[in-house]
């Protein structure tokens, strides 16, 4: 397409700042809520279950659940933030401004997904800091931890963006995060190792993409995961490619955006 060679940086920044301003405006909901829920998870899982289950793969149970807890928030926050970010202008009608501005689809995605990913990373880091108050943490591969954090936030923000474009009501907006993402995260080894499951359910779990994310992230923390780290990276990149493909299709066809 002609005219898309130069990046409209002010436009990307305008969207990014606009979205981040909403995040800070709703700081209580954005930041305090995840901190409280993380603390509750530590009380319930860490104290109640952890007192009976000392270690998993040689890692104290309290520390073992930290990557899963971060991943749980990272996935749900990425999806929710990005989905709401693009759905709300569609709902309010202000999308007209985005469609009539000299801005390419790539730049729109960059602004919204960038902001959604930033928000979820901030929340992920807050949870990490909160967790370190409860359990001593040592991150074995900090660079890979950051890599997984970025990659997951980006991928699931893209996924959320697709949901925000697909949804035609607030119910649908909540449908995927609540009925698909959260259950998959809980069943994806966030609070246990899939090695602890019977062979049948272990095999079923391997079809859950979240298993690969949690496993990779846990490997970055403790040097141990349910699947090989290379497989985790490949699975995440494949999901990223799928989301990119969907977003490209949506903008090419104008699906739910243009008539």
């Amino acid at each position: 397409m002609k005219g898309v060679s130069m990046l409209n940086v002010p436009a990307v920044l305008a969207i990014y700042r606009f979205e981040m301003a909403r995040f800070w405006r709703t700081a209580l909901q954005s930041i305090v809520a995840p901190v409280i829920s993380t603390s509750l998870y530590f009380v319930v899982f860490g104290a109640a279950i952890g007192s009976r289950m000392q270690t998993v793969d040689g890692v104290p149970y309290g520390a073992f659940i930290v990557p899963g807890l971060i991943m749980l928030s990272l996935l749900t926050q990425s999806v929710s933030n990005a989905a709401f970010g693009i759905y709300f202008p569609r709902f309010a009608g202000t999308i007209y401004e985005l469609l009539s501005a000299p801005i390419s689809p790539f730049e729109v995605v960059l602004g919204y997904v960038g902001a959604a990913a930033t928000k979820s990373i901030v929340i992920g880091l807050i949870i990490l800091a909160t967790a370190s108050l409860f359990v001593p943490l040592h991150i074995e591969h900090p660079v890979w931890m950051v890599f997984f954090l970025l990659l997951t936030a980006l991928t699931f923000s893209l996924f959320g963006f697709v949901i925000g474009l697909w949804a035609d009501g607030f119910e649908k907006l909540q449908l995927v995060p609540l009925l698909i993402v959260t259950p998959l995260t809980f069943l994806g080894g966030s609070f246990y190792s899939i090695e602890m499951l019977p062979p049948f359910w272990r095999a079923v779990s391997l079809f859950n993409p979240v298993v690969y994310l949690v496993s990779g992230f846990r490997w970055a923390f403790f040097g141990k995961g349910d699947v090989a780290v290379g497989v985790s990276i490949a699975a995440t990149l494949a999901f990223l490619a799928l989301c990119l493909g969907l977003v490209t299709y949506i903008f090419r066809t104008g699906y739910r955006l243009k008539s």
């Binding site: 005219g3 002010p10 920044l13 305008a14 700042r17 405006r25 401004e97 469609l99 000299p102 008539s259």
Partner: protein
């Protein structure tokens, strides 16, 4: 001078099968105020939305400032400001922030002085720190105009700009539009208020069922299509018209105290001289006379009915 907006053979068929625009061709000159009139569902908003990039055209070509709206959409859109019909605003945002956001979206660096000027022009500066949801409907309309002007557009589309606003705001907007024209901005507006087009427009286009059925200079249109009435106030009331006046299009009004003669201004002979002479012959004297001209609204209603 080449037109600033050039629309050639534009058609739009929605997925539902609705043929919203049919082979529309239209040129808008730089600096003019063009009013697009048409009944509900005629295609006015679709036409604007296609030019602005919100709706995809089915066929045809549109250029803004010489830039194709599809292949050179960045350059084309940078020139355009759009004030939509609906009051679509970010309720939780502050006035200053939302107007600044619009400027950024169009690729321009921050310019607080420009934003301040725009807000002052629209009497919004005192409300700059207010959240949009705290504003009245009229103020929200002003915010939408401010957003459209934030990136200094050369072509401004106003889709039903004064729908549902009070008289004061309407007149404020008319003043604003004139000021923009003085600055060289081309203004294209759709309206239901024919009075608005009559007051402001240089040219008028009428769209009906997706087709442009007329584009004409407003004054010329009113001259060509306008009807005038000559009202004669009689010294003595008449009950009926004498036979020699029957051929004239005369009506008795106000209980026989006035005679109303309707004529078309575009005709070479209006028949006024003959009428006055025959009135004298019939011994009908009058004490006063006045004339009135049909409004653009009358012309519009006639046009739309004629083609129905």
């Amino acid at each position: 001078m080449p037109p600033i907006v050039s629309i050639a053979n534009l058609s739009k068929v929605y997925a539902s099968g609705l043929h919203a625009l049919r082979d529309v061709s239209l040129d808008i000159a730089k600096g003019e105020i063009f009013a697009l009139l048409g009944p509900n569902g005629a295609g006015k908003s679709t036409l604007i939305n296609v030019v602005c990039g919100i709706v995809t055209p089915s066929t045809g070509q549109i250029r803004v400032g010489g830039h194709d709206i599809l292949s050179a959409y960045r350059a084309a859109r940078r020139m355009i400001g759009l004030v939509p019909q609906e009051l679509t605003t970010d309720a939780f945002e502050k006035v200053w922030d939302t107007v600044s956001f619009s400027r950024g979206l169009f690729g321009l660096a921050k310019d607080p002085a420009h934003i301040e000027r725009v807000l002052k022009d629209l009497s919004l500066y005192d409300k700059r720190e207010s959240r949009i949801m705290q504003l009245s409907g009229g103020m929200k309309r002003r915010v939408l105009i401010a957003k459209a002007l934030a990136h200094e557009p050369q072509v401004l589309f106003l889709d039903e700009p004064t729908a549902g606003v009070d008289v004061e705001l309407r007149q404020d907007m008319w003043r604003l539009v004139r000021r923009l024209r003085e600055q060289g901005v081309t203004v294209i507006l759709t309206t239901h208020y024919i009075e608005e087009a009559e007051e402001m427009a240089d040219r008028v286009g009428v769209i009906r069922k997706g087709e442009i059925i007329l584009v004409e200079d407003k004054v010329e249109l009113m001259r060509k299509l306008g009807k005038k009435q000559l009202i004669l106030h009689l010294r003595e009331p008449v009950a009926a018209l004498p036979d020699n006046l029957a051929r004239h299009d005369l009506q008795i009004g106000e209980g026989g105290r006035t005679l109303v003669y309707t004529y078309e201004t575009r005709r070479e002979r209006t028949g006024i001289t003959g009428l006055l002479s025959e009135l004298a012959k019939a011994g009908i004297a009058f004490t006063d006379l006045d004339t009135s001209q049909s409004s653009l609204e009358d012309i519009f209603v006639d046009l739309v009915r004629e083609r129905a």
